[in-house]
């Protein structure tokens, strides 16, 4: 049997047609199956806040332990404030986002102009 990690790319169009709760459910349902979700255009700050809240309610000791999430560009957007938003157009909503299961996505970081994800085939512990 071939083992692997499924990577799911969700287009900005598909995501924009969903309500906030539908977006959160779509992402979390996939991540809880062990998939890595790449959002072409990330979530709004309010949606990120909801994602954290719903993720917390889904965590089960010994089971799902949460998510790992990284957005690109991260540092530049944080630094630039008003001007970064102005030149990025949509600000935080315009950032590509990678979300995966915390037990499996061991390392997720931005190296210069690359977003690097390292996924384990096993579910962690």
């Amino acid at each position: 049997m071939i083992q692997g990690v499924q990577i799911e790319l969700i287009s900005a169009d598909r995501l924009s047609s969903l309500t906030t709760l539908e977006k959160i459910r779509t992402i979390l349902d996939s991540v809880m199956l062990g998939n890595i979700v790449v959002l072409e255009r990330g979530l709004s700050p309010d949606e990120q806040s909801m994602l954290v809240e719903v993720t917390m309610r889904e965590i089960q000791p010994g089971g799902f332990s949460g998510i790992e999430m990284e957005t690109y560009p991260g540092k530049d957007a944080a630094k630039g404030g008003f001007f970064a938003r102005l030149f990025q157009g949509k600000g935080p909503e315009g950032r590509m986002t990678v979300i995966g299961p915390a037990g499996q996505l061991k390392m997720l970081k931005i190296e210069r102009d690359r977003l690097v994800a390292w996924a384990s085939l096993s579910s962690g512990r």
Partner: protein, 213 residues
Amino acid sequence: MGMFDRAKKRFRRFLQILFRRKRSRIGIYGPPNAGKTTLANRIVRDCSGDAIGPVSEIPHETRRARRREDVVITGANGNTLTLDIVDTPGVTTKIDYHEFLEYGLEQNEAISRAREATEGVAEAMHWLREDINGVIYVMDSTLDPFMQVNIMMVGIIESRDLPVVIVANKTDLPDAAPSRIKSAFPQHPVIMVSGLEGTNMSELYDIMTEHFG
């Protein structure tokens, strides 16, 4: 109680409702182990001589938001401000009970701590959207300020137009580099403090009276 007394009481209550000043509710947010409760204790102790909650090196010692009402902050500039201070659990996107076992907790205790922590973080995120008028965002000066949770939380706070003061905490530690936090978030006031030793708290109180007033 006579009719006159009842009328007097009603009139007084009417005046209280009419002229009651809405107090700001300030949430102390940040990642786990950034020193939020130590800072909250310092603020509440300085201003009311009391404490808000226990501290520990084990992450998620604060698993329920703790609120202290009517904290009067006085800046060196002479301005005063009455606030409700809410100390919140450390914000994170993951909680694994195995992490607590490494601190010597029994399995049952670790599982229970994890359950309480998840509820506490969910509640804190909900409050941030519904119930908080300003934020003191606490970061550990020894760590990379560009942690995803910091970027996400500052984005959420900005999107809600909440006044925010960033605290670069733990400046008493030898490897503290609070200037990294200042250059990472130039759009917000960053105050370098040691909540543990109480250094630079007067500057924090000045900024609080300016920003949250």
